[in-house]
């Protein structure tokens, strides 16, 4: 319920502000509209349970990237370069092409998930009260190894949340186990989980990204540095 409300609010906000980005004539206004889009996306991430990503979205996109955009626009004083809005054939064609693309992309969105695909969390529907299956146990231990979780921690923290009396995973029923798995997966957006997986499974890409950033840093300095030959002391 809450998720639906959030989705509707932030979805409309995102689409509306995205349209504003391409509709506004003043680049500063466009940039601000884009900031709003990023915020709505952060909201959507929160509603999807990706808290860490949401925070990083705000820090990186709104806090750093868009500020950089604003800086450049202001430094170059691009606000004065507002081109008069003109509608020509090329633009109409471009919009038609865009709408075609949108139609296909939306079609994919609808087709890709037709409601029958079942996430690994759910599995087949179990008879009420059936004991936990080995498949579910495997799934739980898989989650444990991915996120470096402790079975005792799961037993003490998560198991009581799905079934008040029980304290070990093995005693759960199948439906409770499904709940438990969903709960464990639902918390994958938490920073500690993200950190665990980022620094184990994705360590190499992480390091490579840092190299990318370093290269970008050097590249920017080289690009923007002026040769100050005339004012040399």
């Amino acid at each position: 319920m809450a998720e639906q409300i959030l989705f509707i609010i932030f979805g409309i906000l995102a689409v509306g502000s995205a349209i504003c980005v391409i509709a506004f004539r003043n680049p500063i206004h466009s940039a601000l509209a884009l900031v709003l889009t990023f915020f709505s996306l952060a909201g959507l991430f929160i509603s999807l349970g990706a808290y860490f990503v949401a925070a990083v979205q705000v820090i990186v996109y709104a806090g750093a990237i868009m500020v950089l955009f604003l800086f450049v626009i202001m430094l170059l004083n691009l606000g004065r370069l507002q081109t008069t809005r003109q509608i020509n054939k090329a633009k109409v064609f471009a919009v038609i092409v865009g709408i075609l693309l949108a139609a296909e992309a939306i079609y994919i969105g609808i087709k890709a998930y037709d409601g029958t695909a079942v996430s690994p969390a759910q599995g087949e529907s179990q008879a009420v009260g059936a004991a936990i299956t080995s498949e579910q146990l495997n799934r739980i231990s898989e989650i444990e190894s991915t996120y470096h979780l402790d079975r005792t921690e799961i037993n003490s923290t998560y198991v009581p949340e799905v079934s008040e009396q029980k304290s070990t995973v093995e005693t759960l029923t199948a439906s409770e186990a499904n709940l438990l798995i969903a709960k464990l997966q639902g918390e994958m957006g938490k920073p500690d989980r993200i950190g665990t997986i980022l620094f184990t499974k994705f360590l190499l890409p992480f390091e490579v990204t840092s190299l990318v950033l370093l290269a970008a840093l050097i590249g920017v300095i080289v690009l923007v540095k002026r040769e100050d030959t005339d004012t040399a002391a």
Binding site: N26, I28, H29, L32, V35, Y51, F52, A54, A55, V56, V58, I59, A62, G63, A64, V67, L70, F71, M74, L75, G79, K190, P191, D192, V224, K225, R226, D228, T231, A233
Partner: protein
């Protein structure tokens, strides 16, 4: 532990109202305190006409702001001009949402934590919101369509972006040891005794954080953006009346919130020698809030104290301090804390080595700076000179 929904909503609403009002009252108190303290420091009386000892002075100021003519210059970009003061105020207010200002209070069986929302990414949330503060400045400066405003705005945003890095990085060490992003957890983990608080364990980080927090508020000695002598007030030159008041309030709110966060992260939050546990479930909450309030007030006093005793930095000095001293210190604390913690898990060792490493870094940087110092630039070439400082 989990509260019923209606209790949650009602208590949250009450907390929000209380916190917002506390902030507003705090701003007024700060205005008065600022003037009083500056008076003492400069050996004069300070405001003493309105009300007994001048305590009604902030109200008089407020009335003055409200009644002034609200000018909107012709040449401004109107929507953004109007939006900017709001944008700068909002982050300050919103940050308070995650700051725990007391332990918890029990009313009719419900234990209500003295914190609007204890979210598991609290510190990240604060960093995210802080990073937005720059918008208010930069947009206001640009929308004013005034050369001096823009210069001030660019200066201030460059400064804020630079110090934001330090602000974030100096917290990493703390986060590493507490292994939580929740402000409440971090506060509780520090315990009740000053020698177990984070500011001792992460002393260089604490210094860096505090300095960066000073810089983030754009106050003296970091008030290059306003720089009355050069920039006629900087980014808020074109603002008057209530909109100026909003900038004014935002500055104080930033101070208050920054102090509150610093107290939570480094000074043990609401805990003080077990004092917060005295009394029943109700009174202990009140007492803990009092302790938190006192600590924050002390921090705010330091803010004012620094403002009226330190001279202003020059712009290149400011950037040097940020990029060449504070940032390396913050990075060093990360490395040292991480390494030491991985091997020994001794907080004492972390504390000692942090200080030693920071001292070494400062010594190295200072030596390098002195060795490579070039003659001072003869003329001040204005706001953008920092990009060419090294080559000139």
């Amino acid at each position: 532990m989990d509260l019923p929904l209606h209790v949650l909503i009602i208590s949250s609403l009450i907390k929000i109202v209380v916190v917002v009002h506390l902030l507003l009252i705090g701003v007024m108190a700060m205005i008065l305190a600022e003037r009083k303290v500056s008076g003492w420091i400069q050996d004069r009386h300070g405001p003493n006409r309105v009300g007994p000892w001048g305590i009604l002075q902030p109200i008089a100021d407020g009335i003055k702001f409200l009644l002034k003519e609200d000018l909107i210059p012709d040449h401004v970009d109107k929507p953004i001009y109007l939006l900017a003061p709001a944008i700068i105020l909002v982050p300050a207010l919103v940050t308070c949402g995650v700051v725990p200002f007391g332990s918890s209070i029990t009313i009719s069986g419900y234990e209500i934590p003295l914190q609007i929302a204890d979210i598991n990414i609290g510190v990240l949330y604060i960093l995210a919101i802080t990073s937005l503060g720059v918008y208010g400045v930069v947009l206001g400066a640009w929308a004013s369509n005034n050369k001096y405003s823009l210069l001030g705005g660019l200066r201030s945003s460059a400064q804020m972006i630079s110090y934001e890095l330090t602000l974030g990085l100096s917290l990493i060490g703390v986060l590493m040891l507490s292994s939580s992003l929740s402000l409440r957890d971090i506060a509780i983990q520090q315990g009740g005794y000053p020698w177990t608080w984070n500011f001792l364990i992460h002393f260089p980080a604490f210094l860096a954080f505090t300095t960066a927090a000073f810089a983030e508020t754009n106050r003296l000695p970091f008030d290059l953006a306003e720089a009355e002598q050069e920039l006629v007030g900087g980014y808020h030159t074109e603002y008057s009346s209530m909109k100026f008041a909003m900038y004014f309030m935002a500055e104080y709110m930033h101070m208050i919130v920054g102090s509150a966060v610093a107290v939570t992260l480094f000074l043990g939050g609401w805990q003080f020698f077990g004092l917060e546990k005295i009394g029943g479930p109700f009174w202990s909450g009140i007492i803990s809030f009092g302790i938190f309030f006192t600590k924050t007030a002390f921090f705010l006093f330091v803010f004012i104290w620094v403002r009226w005793t330190l001279p202003r930095f020059r712009y290149d000095q400011l950037m040097n301090l940020g990029w060449k001293f504070l940032l390396p210190i913050a990075l060093t604390t990360i490395v040292v804390t991480g390494t030491v913690w991985a091997f020994t898990q001794s907080k004492l060792l972390v504390a000692i080595l942090n200080v030693v490493a920071a001292a070494i870094v400062v010594a190295i940087v200072a030596t390098t700076l002195v060795m490579t110092r070039e003659p001072e630039p003869v003329d001040d070439r204005g706001v953008l000179s920092f990009t060419e400082e090294s080559s000139s």
